[in-house]
Point group: D2
Chain length 299, copies 4
């Protein structure tokens, strides 16, 4: 299974009363289906996974499965701290038709989550999973990063096919690519270092900002693939501020507001996320206007 | 409600097949009932809370409630990332007879978990909770610490009665005590700084090591209360190595092995915790032998 | 040599044109001589050591030596990154009549400053030094902390007589005291955790805030020594805000302003320190007024 | 002044007795003169700047000045904590014929080294300097990084012409390039992220590993400039392990050993650096053999 290109980790739409708004999810996916996105990650960190009940997760998986076009690869976010529950979630997603599972590192009990513990966790999950596993390292949420030596060990497992590396540390990305065979697929989760990561060998991106700006992400990927270094650099710079101002700083509430501004359904995040202030909203709107202007000017 | 003294955050016993071993929990509590422990925290971090299903948590709460002696204060660990689910868990614990809820900070989406977001989360939980709330700051697991300014704001809420401060940062403990009224109760979660924390005004400890060494913890607390500074210092030093070697370094698997050595049921932890190596077990046993020798020599 | 009690690490007075104001240093020391301070550290971090030339350091050492009363212990701050230069400075201070040297960890090349490198550095310095050596761990400046295992090794050297531990980490202080023989003297550099550190066995403090508030520091030390736990706690709390507001937050410029307010010569810091803003000055003055009020109210 | 291409920050050669070995410096520079290196940084962190006396620094500057070929740009490392001394060193280097000064951030008093303090420090240095200034951010040594907002402010000064950004954080490099005008030159100090940094707009590298492997660094730079993305990626991967195994892990002692292996004079580092163990030396030799093999195989 080739995981090249751009995969947005889908946001989970909520109604004003914080219940699931599954029709809105369907509509968003309908729009994404008409773009060259490679596929979707459903129930990742950006999907507010830790704020959903097990039953809600199943419903989101089900709706996304139905709404996704047939040529889109479907990846389910299934990792939790418990090894057993990660396996249970993974095989539930497999039963629902997902093609791969994105499994974040267990992390709560940090000092004991040694490379040896992570290795054994992933081996057990990969042994038991009925679909291929992508490991997922996201230190900004978990406080714990997978290093290249360990990833090289994980890459030996026949059912572990790649990694989503979200640290934004390009040296680490390079080390992982260096330490793993060409068949092991390294995707990155950081849009602000997407082009540099492609330059050293990453094959794609699971980019939250692609929920709001799928075309820009796809265009950057295409420019890189076409060997147009100058254009790739320019697009990376164009992606920089929106990623910082609509996502990195305001988090998921900001991303959802950007989506609202750009014709998708963003809607409110769940608590404990605070609603955006008016000033935060305006900053997002101003940033998006600049991107639009740059895009228009260019064409 | 006075929360003075020592509260072990109970470990959750599992059988060899990783299912709940509720009889063992009952037996452990039966033994603790005969000590001067002030009460129990049920389903805290030490209880492997993040490795249990909602249904399992209810069963553990139920059994602990039945097994606890009438004079022991019962505190339920109810905090998760979702505000709504934290409220739901808290009121479920209230319905089961728990007297207070220990609510850890939401933390997964770290950059958005600003003091303002934490404040509003806790206010919503405390507004809705049918029992008093203890806030819980445990940066070694969450990567996020509550600072004194925010705790002072939280202390203004009539249903927030105290804090479990587990950072081990004694300056921060002092600042919190300084910034809050005398009615606000500061307990600490770090056994290695328990006496220094009492010295600056903490009223008790929620100490994981008290699962294995309840008498030593109680003795230290009593020495402090009796104004015996030299004895308190000596006991703090006696508690140092067991806490590091049986808990801080090996984590919950180590604590459970120490319990097994000392006549309680520890048993295996759940995955992704690795089982202890023989070398780790021996280090725990050696450390405990030294404590026992010191205790015997003294008496 | 007993290093019990309070040692201010003296600030270095500058005139308005940033040249040394040695008369002012003489005056300050004259005032401190009339207090029960145990001695002085000359050319520590608080003395803006890294902003002085070698020749200036010699002049400061010389003047302080002359001005200090005969019963005050004189400690020279002599540690720099280079082992050879540390030895040279140490023996220069010895020649000028200093009784001990405070030697901070080399730290610039952090990844190579392993425990083995620190050990050998200190052994070479202690071998060559004509006066006893106090090791000095100050991670807030150096990014590097000495842990108890290494300090235990250092304590075996006959010419290493103690440590100034400035991390403010009371568990670490406890571990160091636990790991070293009673003859090894642990002083702390953190005024906000001074009483808790004494409670676990520290024998004194090298406290920057003692430049401005020597009596309060001495009083806290005396209360502890007299076994007056309640009074020690109250004094620790009284010391908390001045230390944070006059020192931890504004740094040496703040401390110098506090000294100016309290009858000592503080004067301007050297660049790159910025001069205090008016708002910063007012906050210091307000804080000091509160301490004075508390002190008056009490007497 | 164009600072494009590769600048090694020269190591400082010492004899067996730790005195300066200036002839060896002359010989090394003689060899570098015959490569397409763009110039030299003399007395940077890699030059063991903090282990040299002022008088030694002048001698090294003088010899390097004489030995350097006329087409090589000469940059002096002149930054220390004191603003006044930084100016003095900078103008001393100017008087000796250096064309630019590399000025690292003051950092010892970290909490006070705010963006405002750094801004004023650099403005004062740039105002007084008789040669252009490159700012230098190297958080692995200083614990303090310059962020893009501040660099944009610094770039407004007519005498500040660029930055050496050594954090290895490619997002930060991108942000700096994004925030500064095209005339402001961003060089990076991290060889492990050199190609990704060039890809987003960096113009050159001040690369310590270029002391040992100047050709490989130059070749990577040339491949990038020629638009050969595949070759640049391959060369970046070839540079990865030598940089980690000969420099990042063993530090300057490792780099010097690699130089000894490759026909340059490395020699011993000064204390407190420990000499390499035999195992460390072998790892460096093995790593270099692999690079040589790869290079030979290719040609």
């Amino acid at each position: 299974m080739k995981l090249h290109g751009i995969f947005p980790p889908l946001t989970t739409p909520f109604a004003g009363d914080a219940t699931l708004a599954l029709d809105r999810l369907r509509e968003n996916i309908g729009k994404y289906n008409r773009t060259p996105l490679a596929g979707y990650v459903v129930i990742g960190s950006t999907g507010e996974s830790v704020l959903l009940s097990r039953e809600e997760i199943d419903r989101v998986w089900g709706v996304a499965r139905e709404a996704a076009a047939g040529d889109k690869i479907l990846i389910a976010g299934t990792g939790v701290d418990s090894t057993a529950e990660t396996i249970e979630r993974t095989n539930r997603a497999a039963a629902l038709g997902y093609q791969a599972a994105l499994v974040k590192t267990p992390y709560y009990y940090k000092s004991q989550m040694t490379p040896a513990a992570e290795l054994e966790h992933y081996q057990r999950v990969a042994d038991a999973a009925r679909i291929p596993v992508l490991v997922y390292s996201v230190p900004q949420f978990t406080g714990l990063a997978l290093e290249a030596d360990l990833v090289a060990r994980l890459a030996e497992h026949p059912n572990i096919i790649g990694i989503k590396e979200s640290s934004g540390n390009v040296q680490r990305v390079t080390e992982i690519i260096h330490a793993t065979p060409p068949s092991f697929q390294t995707l990155v989760g950081s849009a602000t270092t997407f082009y540099p990561s492609l330059a050293v060998g990453a094959v794609g991106g699971v980019l939250a900002i692609a929920n709001a700006l799928p075309e820009l992400c796809v265009e950057l990927y295409a420019a890189f693939r076409a060997g147009e270094a100058g254009r790739a650099r320019a697009l990376q710079h164009r992606l920089l501020k929106p990623t910082i101002k609509c996502l990195a700083e305001p988090g998921i509430p900001g991303l959802k507001h950007a989506m609202d501004c750009l014709g998708y359904y963003g809607g409110p995040p769940r608590r404990p996320f605070l609603p955006l202030t008016d000033a935060q909203k305006r900053e997002i709107e101003t940033t998006l206007a600049t991107v639009a202007a740059a895009t228009t000017a260019r064409s």
